[in-house]
Symmetry: C2
Subunit: 186 residues, 2 copies
């Protein structure tokens, strides 16, 4: 992370390898490409999200499911690493290549969740819509946690995300005279 503060693309893979006490070759044996060094361990929260979907109780609503996913991921939110994740995210956000990698990781996660959903046999819902909502809530919770202060209650943070999602979905079904519409003022 110190090396990347001078810029991701101006830091050669060989430099990273040297800093870690290994050769360039060994570096590429451990990481499929240079970008992966910033995404190792990313899968843990995604795995927990998939597990939460797989274990949802029969009769649960989608909101129950989103809640379960959020509970599962905040369990592994390590306050001691929060600042480090923030630095990592700043590096990723400022580099197009890394943003691409970030997106494909999320997409892969979404596909895993889709599979888990189909295995559960959800009834009367488009899997794509459900997965999109889960992904939104997942991402919102994670990014808010990163940006929050250390003393912010993580449980309340997840509850906020869930409540906002519920409000937004409810608004979608209301007519033009209520919320969920576009006002006169452009």
């Amino acid at each position: 992370m110190e090396l990347f503060e001078r810029g991701y693309d101006t830091t050669a893979a060989a430099q990273i390898a040297e800093r870690a006490g290994m050769s360039k070759s060994t570096f590429f044996r451990h990481f499929a490409d240079k970008r992966e060094v910033l995404f190792v361990g990313t899968g843990e929260m995604a795995d927990r999200a998939v597990a939460a979907v797989a274990e949802v109780a029969p009769g649960s609503t989608v909101f129950d499911l989103v809640d379960a996913v959020l509970q599962a991921i905040i369990e592994v939110f390590d306050p001691g690493k929060r600042t480090w994740y923030g630095r990592r995210q700043a590096v990723v956000d400022h580099n197009p290549e890394l943003r691409e990698r970030d997106l494909i990781k999320r997409q892969t996660q979404n596909e895993a969740i889709t599979t888990a959903l189909r295995d559960k046999g959800l009834d009367g819902m488009s899997p794509d819509v459900v997965v999109a909502l889960i992904g939104l809530a997942f991402h919102a919770t994670y990014s808010r946690w990163i940006e929050a202060s250390d003393d912010r209650d993580v449980t309340a943070l997840a509850a906020d995300v869930l409540a906002e999602l519920r409000t937004a979905i409810t608004a979608l079904n209301q007519g033009p005279s209520a919320n969920g519409t576009f006002p006169e003022q452009g």
Copy 2:
């Protein structure tokens, strides 16, 4: 596209340049990187989607908006290019680098739509949720068009997507005894 049938990554940028009657240098003057040669012109449908959002009438619902977006993009569906788009998509889908680029294009489009939505000042809805739904409908319509047969009515195809979205959203708000839940059978 003929060159890519032997594989995208086994096709050197120099080969593409030669086939197009130009030097490698000139190729990279026209395309920021090798991948971009498969994404030129991608922005047109995205631009139309953004324009449709910007022009939505006051009092419209989100479903009206999605409908407007779908109408805007199917206007540029050229039946003569449908097969070519299918070949292109097959190449993209089979290559991780290209899938990454595809995702970041969609993300960029979503950000443009988010900006357009905020300018309209939508009331009582989370922009993220609305944008996700628009993106889903957009993508579903495009990919179904590619996979459909030539004589398939494009308008009906867009109507299908809209109807399914409406059904899915409605199901989200119904309780555990109705649709929108997970059945006993796992």
